[in-house]
Amino acid sequence: MLTRRTLLRGAAAAAVSGPLLAACGDGGADNQNTTERNQGVRLPAYAPSTVVKPDLPGNADGLLDAFLSYPDPPVQQFTGPPLTGGTVSAFVLTGSPVPPPKENNPFWQELDKRLGTELKLTITPSAEMAAKFSTLITGDDLPDLIVPALFLPNGVPAGIGNLPQWMATKCTDLTEYLGGDAVKEYPNLAAISTAAWKQCVYNGGIYGVPVPRGVAGTLMFRRDDIVQKVGADPDPKSFAEFRDFCRKVTDAKANRWAIVNAGGLMFLVQQMLGGPNGWRWDGAKLTHQVESEEFRKALSDVVAMYKEGVVHPDSFAGNAPTKRWFNAGEAVLTADRYTAWPQYYAENVAGPAFKISGMRPPKYDGGGWAPTWQSSAGATNNFTVFKKADKGRVKELLTLCNYLAAPFGTAEFLFRRYGVAGTHYTMQNGGPVYTQAGVTQTALGVRYIVDAPDAIFIPGNPEATKTSYEYQKAVIGTSVPDPVIANGLFSDEWSRKQPVLGGIVNNGQNDIIAGRQPLTYLDEMIKNWRSQGGDKVRQEFTEQLQKLGVK
């Protein structure tokens, strides 16, 4: 959820990413979290939902369904509550201000009623998850459902040693309930893509339910309205044209720069060059992005562009409000996730003229489009583990999750996400728009327990929805995954050292771009990266790729 954008801010997008909390393990004898075991897991049989028909259909490449308006009337999927009494406790995260407590929160009360159980939530702000989670697991009094999505205060995923071992001792292996056709008992869980389930596999079993997201990942957003006003060609055909584009739209005296940060430039220029998304596997040798020639070339270009002053001057600041700059028109480009699309429309202050779309990377020397990078976090936002419990209880919780994963277009989804019509939202132009009560009361973090497959939907703006859909459709076929993610590899060293290795790349890259170090410093940076764990990670991944026989 929070990781990718934050990382892009500074730079080094793909370098630090990878599956959230990918497997760990101390490599000891009791380590059950091995690639062999994990590859052998029987994943839930995929059965896409047919409950609602999308306006613009997705496809097997990972293109998401799109909806021009919320189905009216929404489809009623369930006739009654999934549970009958009792309580369910959950440890969830939130990125929003804390919601009102239950007695002041009609949404929460209504949710309890519809779920047929009392939902007790421990809500933790995402920035404080790491500390809170570490204390939670030292006690034995665990909640039924736990979201182990850990972030450091700066938004980087925290490495936590031996998470898989913790899950093995304290959490439920869901394979017998969900593996293969067993999942059919929970049709809404069966509708979650296989790619998303892969991120829940640890210790040779399915250890959680996912909150799925599209694989398309991050794209370069462009302020079409400003580009048009300036009179620049919105779609440069080569790197040289792109540089001209950046010069043309930059006007420092008017407080306007081409892009919010240099990290975004690195992201785009590497794609133009066909650089590796995370890692490159040529059948014999595994190369990390940072070690590639494309990275070096991109870095030197970005250094030059930064010097020219096309990047927002405060871009290296921690917590840089890049979304606001983009909305304010202080920058014309920003690299952000697909899910940000509706938000930019919701918060725009430019009025009806406001128009954004995605900028495709051209091939560096021209001659068509370059492939884009798929999400570096796989197809999930996070996953949720179940405390060890007896069979009956686990089934109850899965029934609850099935309800909470009701797809877009159902009345259940509408309530879960937006609340009760009139009180929490109003329908405007075919899309629900929150009221003040809606924003505060619905921010319970329930959506991070489990969710339906993502859909493209910009409320009240079918044109923008179409633009978003068309862009995704155009790029998804040629988009390239990170081979480490695509092959479901696990490396203990990687899961522990990822933040440190990412830090080396991030800091080094910033130092070079900001001119504090010469370009030649890159060699030292790579050396550092390799000796601090990069080589060991490579070795662990390579062995697995060879064993799997990946060409």
């Binding site: 570490s134 490495g159 071992q165 600041a317 130092d511």
Partner: protein, 294 residues
């Protein structure tokens, strides 16, 4: 009897401070939260290796810490004292109160807010630089400039804490006998002489005490504050001991390392405090520990 009075306070310290302090044994463990203290494997001095490995980054961090500490002790002690004196010399009681209240306001802002205020106002796209750029003047490059980072950090601390730090000095000033001033002006002493011979001696023991206490915490300089700005200026200029440990240990969920460094910092604190206390005694100050019973 007197000892009895200390019982409630001691009970709190023992329960909520010393009891959990035992938990610092994890400094010698490869601590895993889910295994707990009892079951985590012991690993000897491994966690202390970050401190002894001679990593050049560590040396940089230590150097930065010391520089920032000296800057802060230098400025963050003198300015509040000066402010307190300045305020104290104001005549109208009302103005005194207003100024005081205003100056201590920033203490209530968290670092996230303070840093973002500095960034918004002084940053490259902030009002100041926007104005300069529009008038074709050189921009004022202070935020995100590695060369002046340590000064910037000190400036931020000063802005946030000077008014607050002043309060204790004001309380100390209130204890100085006004008759001393009257007597000395009868003797024809000027303001400067009064400052030197009455005011400063009156503040001396508080100043010494606070200095000693600050030394106990010498290796701690603004963790959250610096972490928030680290990206902007790079590690070389901004890495301090706490961020080093964070970046090298805690980021990986390595609780043992942070406990180890905590212990070492405590020990350094003990040495500095005892040393400073001795020094204070040598100058005839009571310091932290009274020398001996009267």
């Amino acid at each position: 009897m007197l000892l009895l009075a200390t019982v409630p306070g001691l009970a709190v310290l023992l329960t909520f401070h010393y009891l959990p302090l035992l938990g610092n044994v994890i400094a010698f463990q490869d601590f895993q939260p889910y295994l707990g203290i009892l079951h985590s494997p012991w690993n000897g001095w491994t966690n202390f290796e970050v401190l002894t490995s001679g990593d050049p980054q560590f040396v940089t961090a230590l150097g930065n810490t010391l520089v920032i500490m000296l800057l802060q002790i230098g400025v963050v002690f003198t300015v509040p004292i000066a402010l307190a004196l300045l305020l104290d010399s104001l005549v109208t009681e009302r103005w005194k109160r207003i100024v005081q209240t205003v100056l201590y306001l920033p203490h209530f802002l968290s670092w996230v807010i303070v840093v973002s205020i500095f960034n918004e106002l002084l940053g490259g796209s902030g009002p100041l630089n926007t104005f300069l750029r529009r008038h074709d003047l050189a921009t004022f490059d202070i935020v995100g400039n590695a060369a002046v980072f340590q000064e910037l950090v000190t400036g931020q601390v000063l802005w946030k804490e000077a008014g607050w730090a002043m309060i204790l000095f004001l309380a100390a000033l209130s204890r100085i006998d006004p008759e001393l001033y009257e007597a000395s002006s009868v003797d024809g002493a000027g303001k400067a002489r009064q400052l030197w011979h009455i005011t400063l001696p009156g503040l001396r023991s508080v100043i010494v005490l606070l200095l000693i206490l600050r030394l106990g915490d010498a290796l701690t300089v603004g963790f959250e504050q610096i972490l928030l700005q680290q990206q902007a200026v790079g590690v070389d200029a901004s890495e301090v001991l706490d961020t080093y440990v964070y970046n090298h240990g805690v980021v990986m969920g390595d609780w043992g390392v942070s406990a180890a460094v905590g212990l070492v910092k405590g020990l350094v604190g003990v040495v500095l405090v005892l040393g400073a206390n001795k020094l204070a005694h040598a100058f005839g100050e009571p310091g932290l520990y009274q020398r001996s019973p009267r």
